[in-house]
């Protein structure tokens, strides 16, 4: 449909230029509309990650398709407007679409052709490449910030390549099929086939490139200090929804030169009979198995052990259990060593409930020649506890942080080095389920009589349940003393809370958006979060114990045990579902805005990384084009005046579509010539005394000018040619694109005869200051817009406010306020050094503009 008309259009264009301005203007308008629709869709998709919505696979597929279609049309529209083919932009579109399609198909484009994934790059988003177990380790290191051994993963992709080249992949698939169909009479035959396959894997040659890169990575890792390596299985599904605990092989104390043998050993264990039967039992036989392999530096452990965050012991209330012994952890995990056993409370201060000190006469140690050896423990150590109280509390806190993140009771393997550093070796979900997690009465019954403090107020930015004491953070408060395990209650959301999120159990804010920066970080760390809970800081008291249920939007008084346990016992963790992970992954190619500065060289089609970038690029080019047209197009140039001389240097080019300017006004028009009502009101607000000068830091006109002109060429910045901002107007319509410094503002207003048609859209984005300041600014602008009855949405640091169907006088008042806001927020980032500044600016702005509004009326 699109193509023939495109060709026609070009043909017409060549045949009889120029295209009437009205046609081009229509195209411009359709670009703006489409741009709005695209940003709306992107915002909607982002909302779905908040945990508030039920969405399915179809939704993800449909949204991506709809969005792709709109973006394609947007690019086509720009081609028509500019009469250029825009090959670069179509290429960028195709590149991004391809990435999205690959994500949807579950095919991760392997950027590492050497199949080596350093642990520092691994999180759950790469679980398909790194396997679940190592992805967990990656999350613990990279998201939660705990220490894990250094290392890398040989990816699942490497496994496929090796098996394929050795001609074993098909055999492995056939074997899994046979197991699925296998009857008990044939077990012996199947076991034999499995054993043979394992033998062949142990003997298979590895592709040269793979062998080389694995050896190189191992050599580097070993040489950096640890000498010996631990080679661990990390199969698809292992330690995820299924555990496969202990079925696959781990090889300890491996010297770098023996890495390939150890690698093959772990690969072969994928087909041990026990694991194959387990797969069958769990109904996993239809999925092709794959083995990623983790290679980590051996920890020289003084003490090691395991920790269960939850144990089903009736005589104690909610204990966690720690087993510990001297030396390396393998015999402890395997249950062959004598250990100390400690029971600790799950809640801070993690009281020691009981301790049982074993006689630990031997320990496993690294052998200087490679591998490990069992050695005697000095007599004085054997009978003494191998952990002190501080170490136990540190372990308990760490384990509870992990549990909150993984949302399940966990089995954590850990070690203390001789320097006393705690190292997390791995964490896997414990398969203890409901009975302990939902003891006694049904969960709904349990909450029935609990006093509800707040209900139905706010939006979940991250679902889940958590309980703890309230800690109210006032603006400007020092976050360093945020108490471990508390629930953060505060007025504004702010990404500066990222620092304390690992310590806090939940977040409740009075303002903020489920798609803002803080929400994104909360989701990354899986901290249950409610935003927009009005009066939370008033209703909740410092230190008060509460239970936050972000899924049901309820805050209970006290700790509701049953609810917390129910949460831990849930079979499925939403954040681990295909739908959640996939939406999050595709949004990475859709939502972030990386093209920030239209004057930079990087503002080009080639640099568009996301659909949002493309939309931003097209928008800017369309505005530029229209300004050019207004200067050069015959119809416009000869008749209409177009440069507006304003009291403040807005550099505004005005295109009057109908009745927006006084008839017969000269080429250079003045504010008095403007008849467009929304623009008049807006200019009044811009000019209103005090809206420019009242900033906390004095900014004189000279520095303002420099911010406008700093990246423009000398000729462009000359006052007579400065005019790169655009207003398209009629008597009742204003469409304004204003770039001041690095900020980009769009105002679209229609104030007609019927109240029902009245609508104002205000959008604000850009800025090159840091993430926190931009986010503060977004919060401030959103708060101000909300104060004046705009419906506000924040996506990243882009703020969109809409007001509809208010009477004209009201709408003009809003335009006046927006004018003031544009002046006030220009360069504001620099002055938003703290959240406190944000609050102060909010109050200052509201106070000043209200005084002006009253005087005006």
């Amino acid at each position: 449909m699109e193509l023939p008309s495109l060709t026609d259009f070009f043909a017409r264009w060549r045949a009889k230029p120029p295209v009437p301005f009205s046609v081009l203007f229509k195209k411009f308008k359709s670009i703006l509309e489409r741009n709005n629709a695209i940003l709306g869709l992107i915002g909607d998709m982002g909302d779905k990650l908040g945990g508030d919505y039920i969405f399915d696979r179809q939704y993800i597929l449909d949204s991506c398709e709809k969005l792709g279609d709109q973006v394609f049309k947007l690019v086509s529209d720009l081609s028509l407007l500019c009469q250029r083919k825009n090959v670069g932009l179509f290429t960028a579109f195709e590149r991004i679409s391809h990435q999205i399609r690959e994500e949807l198909a579950g095919r991760r484009v392997l950027t590492r052709t050497d199949h080596i994934l350093p642990l520092c790059d691994l999180t759950h988003d790469l679980a398909d490449e790194g396997g679940n177990k190592m992805a967990n380790v990656g999350d613990i290191r990279n998201i939660l910030g705990f220490t894990v051994p250094d290392g890398f993963v040989v990816t699942a992709g490497a496994y496929f390549e090796a098996m394929e080249r050795a001609g074993l992949r098909a055999r492995a698939g056939a074997l899994c099929d046979r197991f699925e169909r296998g009857d008990s009479a044939n077990w012996a035959g199947l076991a034999e086939a499995a054993a043979q396959l394992q033998k062949d894997i142990l003997a298979m040659p590895l592709p040269k490139g793979l062998a080389k890169s694995v050896k190189l990575a191992a050599k580097r890792l070993a040489a950096e200090g640890g000498q010996f390596l631990a080679v661990r299985s990390s199969a698809w599904g292992e330690d995820g929804e299924s555990s496969f605990a202990g079925m696959y092989e781990s090889v300890l104390g491996v010297a770098a030169e023996n890495i390939l043998t150890a690698y093959r050993t772990v690969l072969a264990s994928l087909f041990c009979e026990q694991a194959l039967r387990y797969r069958l039992h769990r109904g996993l036989s239809k999925e092709e198995p794959a083995m990623a392999v983790g290679v980590m530096r051996m920890v020289d452990a003084r003490v090691s052990g395991g920790l269960y965050t939850y144990v089903p012991l009736l005589e104690h209330d909610q204990p966690m259990v720690v087993s510990a012994a001297w030396g390396l952890g393998k015999p402890i995990v395997e249950g062959t060593a004598e250990t100390d056993t400690f029971l600790l409370g799950r809640e801070p201060p993690h009281e020691l409930l009981s301790s049982e000190i074993g006689l630990k006469t031997t320990r496993l140690a690294r052998d200087a020649a490679g591998g490990t050896r069992t050695e005697d423990v000095p007599a004085d150590l054997a009978a003494s506890p191998c952990l002190d109280k501080d170490q136990l509390v540190l372990l308990a806190k760490t384990a509870m942080s992990l549990e909150r993140f993984f949302k399940r009771p966990l089995d954590v393997e850990w070690a203390f080095t001789s320097e006393g550093e705690l190292i997390v070796l791995q964490a896997r979900p414990l398969s203890i389920k409901p009975k302990i997690c939902t003891p006694g009465p049904d969960v709904a019954e349990a909450t029935k009589d609990v006093p509800v403090l707040i209900s139905g107020k706010g939006v979940p930015a991250m679902g889940g349940v958590s309980a703890g004491p309230v800690h109210i953070v006032v603006e400007g408060a020092d976050l360093a003393d945020f108490p471990y395990g508390a629930i953060l209650v505060t007025h504004h959301s702010s990404p500066r809370f990222a620092r304390i999120m690992p310590k806090c159990r939940g977040i409740i804010t009075e303002m903020g958006s489920a798609t803002g920066h803080m929400a994104t970080i909360a989701r990354e760390l899986r901290v249950p979060t409610l935003v927009g809970v009005s009066d939370a800081t008033r209703i909740l008291r410092e230190g008060q114990e509460i239970t936050l249920d972000a899924d049901h939007i309820v805050i209970y008084e006290g700790v509701v045990e049953a609810l917390c346990r129910y949460e831990l016992g849930k079979e499925d963790v939403f954040e681990e579902s295909w739908e959640y992970r996939t939406l999050k992954r595709v949004l990475r190619h859709i939502s972030p805005l990386t093209l920030l500065d239209p004057d930079a060289d990087s503002f080009s089609p080639e640099k568009c990384k996301t659909f949002h970038d493309i939309a931003r690029y097209v928008h800017q080019r369309a505005v530029d084009k229209l300004i050019n047209l207004s200067e050069e197009h015959r119809e416009i140039k000869e008749s209409a005046p177009h440069r507006l001389v304003t009291k403040l240097p807005l550099g505004l080019t005005v295109i009057d579509v109908e009745g927006g300017l006084r008839r017969g006004a000269p080429g250079e028009i003045r504010e008095e010539d403007v008849l467009c009502r929304p623009l008049r009101a807006l200019l009044e607000g811009v000019n209103a005394s005090g809206m420019w000068e009242t900033c906390a830091v004095a900014v004189d006109m000279g520095s303002f000018m420099s911010s406008v002109t700093r990246t423009m060429t000398a000729s462009q910045s000359h006052p007579t040619t400065l005019g790169r901002n655009l207003a398209v107007i009629s008597e009742e319509y204003l469409n304004l694109h204003l770039r001041l410094g690095y900020h980009f503002t769009v105002v679209d207003a229609y104030l007609g005869e019927s109240v029902n048609d009245n609508a104002v859209l205000f959008r604000f984005m850009g800025g090159v200051t840091d993430f926190t300041r931009r986010s503060r600014r977004a919060g401030l602008i959103a708060a101000i817009l909300e104060r004046y009855d705009f419906v506000v949405k924040i996506t990243g640091d882009m703020v969109t406010g809409r007001a509809k169907k208010h009477p004209e006088a009201d709408m003009l008042d809003k335009m006046y306020m927006l004018g003031g806001l544009i002046g006030y927020t220009r360069q504001l980032d620099a002055r938003l050094g703290s959240d406190d500044d944000g609050r102060r600016h909010f109050e200052e702005f509201v106070q000043r503009i209200n005084a002006l509004r009253e005087a005006r009326q």
Binding site: I54, P434, I436, G440, E445, S577
Partner: protein, 139 residues
């Protein structure tokens, strides 16, 4: 540390509103089940319309929540059968593609309400509460 069976339901005698959810997108069932359970409902979920129908033949539910577009017996046919078997079961349709035709057809078959996917948890809970109110199921 062995796997223990799920704890028994609440003490008998307290009648709770029962809900059957049918959707072939597993994620919908996986999320609605704990959500409604926590809100105090008795919930069973199905990914296959045949199995769901077999269950409806065995027992009556107060509320049936079903998708429209599915493999095999589709949602429209399923809700028709449900209404045939239990007149007083209220059916809520959740669907991503509601055409005028399907919605007209659904209402003709006595659907209680339509909820477009994707929906907020609070939305679907509201509809269920409306059913309870109209049927006098709430205490």
């Amino acid at each position: 540390m062995t796997n223990e069976p799920i704890a028994p339901d609440a003490p008998a005698g307290k009648a709770r509103t029962s809900i059957l959810v049918l959707d072939d997108e597993a994620i919908v069932c996986k999320r609605l089940k704990p959500f409604f359970q926590k809100a105090g409902y008795e919930v069973e979920t199905f990914g296959d319309s045949g199995e769901a129908l077999a269950r409806v033949r065995e027992r009556r539910f107060d509320v049936v929540i079903t998708d429209l577009k599915m493999e095999g017996l589709d949602g429209l046919a399923f809700l028709g059968k449900v209404k045939e078997l239990h007149k007083d079961t209220d059916v809520i349709v959740i669907t991503g593609f509601a055409t005028l035709e399907t919605s007209r057809e659904s209402f003709r078959k006595g659907v209680f309400d339509f909820v477009a996917k994707p929906f907020k948890l609070a939305e679907i809970l509201d509809v269920v509460r409306r059913v309870e109110k109209e049927r006098g199921l709430t205490p």
